[in-house]
């Protein structure tokens, strides 16, 4: 998916640079302007709209993805910084027929209301449970403190992360 657009200060297609990274296990190559954000490149240029942009100001965590093993807010990373990186988005951890244990847990515990923050919550949990596979409730709350649910449905989200930890302990899971 390529769109042609000229931004207000006249930067046009001649300024494109090539960025390559591994996205959910597939090598991808995309031409971007240096100022394009990882979040917008994933969504608008690569069609991976699972990653949401909520606040666009590093506060809400909806755009959380995994870059080289670390969770990052992709609205605050230029796509060009991700050149050579390994990126995982919510599309990369499970699918409709085979959900990731974290996704199962969010479903079972109803860890969402409107669902907007969910992809970010899941990706942050994905990173956090690798760091801390057996967290207490307060550790979970600290671990997802960079993600905001504006429905304020935190109770079920925290329960879901705890259930996911149990599921991943018994099932394994990556």
């Amino acid at each position: 998916m390529v769109y042609e657009e000229t931004f207000e200060d006249g930067a046009g297609l001649e300024d494109l640079v090539e960025v390559q990274f591994t996205l959910n296990g597939r090598k991808r190559k995309v031409s971007v302007e240096p100022r394009e954000l990882l979040a917008t490149v994933l969504r608008d240029r690569l069609g991976m709209t699972g990653t949401h942009i909520g606040c666009d100001t590093t506060n809400c965590g909806s755009c959380t993805v995994i870059q080289d093993g670390q969770s990052v807010k992709s609205c605050t990373v230029f796509a060009i910084q991700a050149d050579g990186s390994d990126i995982i988005t919510v599309e990369g951890i499970g699918n409709v027929t085979e959900l990731h244990p974290i996704q199962e847990a969010f479903q079972e515990k109803h860890g969402l209301q409107c669902g907007f923050c969910t992809a970010g919550m899941i990706m942050q949990s994905y990173w956090f449970l690798k760091e801390n596979p057996d967290p207490s409730e307060s550790e979970i709350r600290w671990g997802i403190s960079g993600n905001i649910c504006r429905c304020t449905g935190y109770q079920n989200i925290v329960d879901a992360v705890r259930l996911a930890a149990d599921k991943m302990k018994t099932k394994g899971g990556s």
Binding site: F7, D9, A11, D15, V17, E33, P34, R35, E36, L37, D56, T57, T58, N59, G61, T64, Q70, S71, V72, K73, T76, V77, F78, I80, Q81, D83, G84, Q124, W127, F128, W142, G143, I144, S145, G146
Partner: protein, 293 residues
């Protein structure tokens, strides 16, 4: 939300980065973790024509022992510092400070060098480096010079680094083990917020239980991170104890010069909280040093 466009560079060595910086002068900015710079660029508070990303300079990342000092690369992330066994063992204050910065994703990306050079008075590292009496190393590509933590911060968002220099490393004396105590206390309105007040404390008690070294750095109570000098001097050579801690906390407020903040409280409130948090921070450090209240 997009920043204005810019040319992007990804040097692999400090020398290359410095060369680019010197070539492009004031039109260039160094990008480390980008947790402050990218939002500022997106909100068009800064304009950058040449963006020099030091994220791929491996020699600027990581932590190592250097004699009795611990040296931390400028592009080392807060999370790497927070979870480093070396830091937890040798300078546990740094690990504690790192855990208070931003939120987990910000700590995964943001760097100590970027935070220090940004010189936001509510940034957490300044108080920590001041409490530890550390040094900030900067390089102009030819030679590296050390800036004392007391001389580094000049004003809000302003440091004593010169044009054409980049912050390469941070060096702090190892402070841990018997007789050492530390604490970082940070008052924030909500998780991940900038500090309303922060207090970094490092204490050392000798065999008789007297304070042989004290470092107190303050966050968000003035135009720069600052040292609570009077409080430090007061504690030196004393038995400390609860009365000493209370007195030192009062003296710490004397070093501050906060302004009214529409979000995080009036100057008066900040002073009051500075006393409370200095008291708590000193008490924790004192107890961790083996002092009995």
């Amino acid at each position: 939300m997009y920043s204005a466009n810019f040319k992007y560079y990804s040097p692999r060595t400090v020398a290359e980065a410095v060369k680019l910086l010197q070539e492009h002068g004031e039109e260039a900015r160094i990008l480390a973790g980008g947790m402050s710079l990218i939002p500022m660029m997106k909100m068009r508070l800064v304009s950058v024509n040449h963006l020099i990303d030091i994220g791929k300079i491996d020699s600027m990342k990581g932590m190592a022992e250097n004699g009795s000092d611990i040296v931390i690369g400028g592009a080392t992330t807060h999370h790497a510092i927070e979870t480093s066994p070396l830091i937890q063992k040798e300078v546990p204050l740094m690990s504690e400070v790192a855990s208070w910065i931003g939120d987990p994703q910000v700590r995964n990306k943001g760097t100590i060098g970027g935070s220090l050079i940004h010189a936001d008075p509510s940034g957490d590292w300044g108080a920590c480096i001041i409490a530890l009496k550390g040094k900030i190393m900067v390089s102009n590509g030819e030679k590296e010079r050390a800036i004392d933590s007391d001389d580094f911060f000049v004003d809000m968002y302003e440091t004593s680094i010169k044009a054409g220099e980049i912050l390469t490393r941070v060096s702090v004396p190892a402070k841990s083990g018997k007789g050492h105590g530390f604490s970082y206390m940070n008052m924030e309105r909500k998780a991940g917020d900038f500090a309303t007040v922060g207090v970094a404390t490092q204490l050392e008690l000798d065999d008789k239980g007297n304070c042989s070294s004290a470092g107190i750095g303050l966050t968000a109570v003035g135009r720069t991170p600052m040292r609570a000098s009077e409080a430090e001097e007061f504690l030196l050579g004393k038995k400390v104890g609860i009365d000493g801690i209370n007195e030192a906390a009062k003296l710490a407020v004397k070093s501050t010069d906060p302004t009214d903040d529409p979000l995080r409280g009036s100057a008066e409130f900040k002073k009051a909280m500075c006393e409370v948090y200095t008291r708590r921070s000193l008490r924790t450090a004192f107890e961790r040093a083996g002092g009995a209240i």
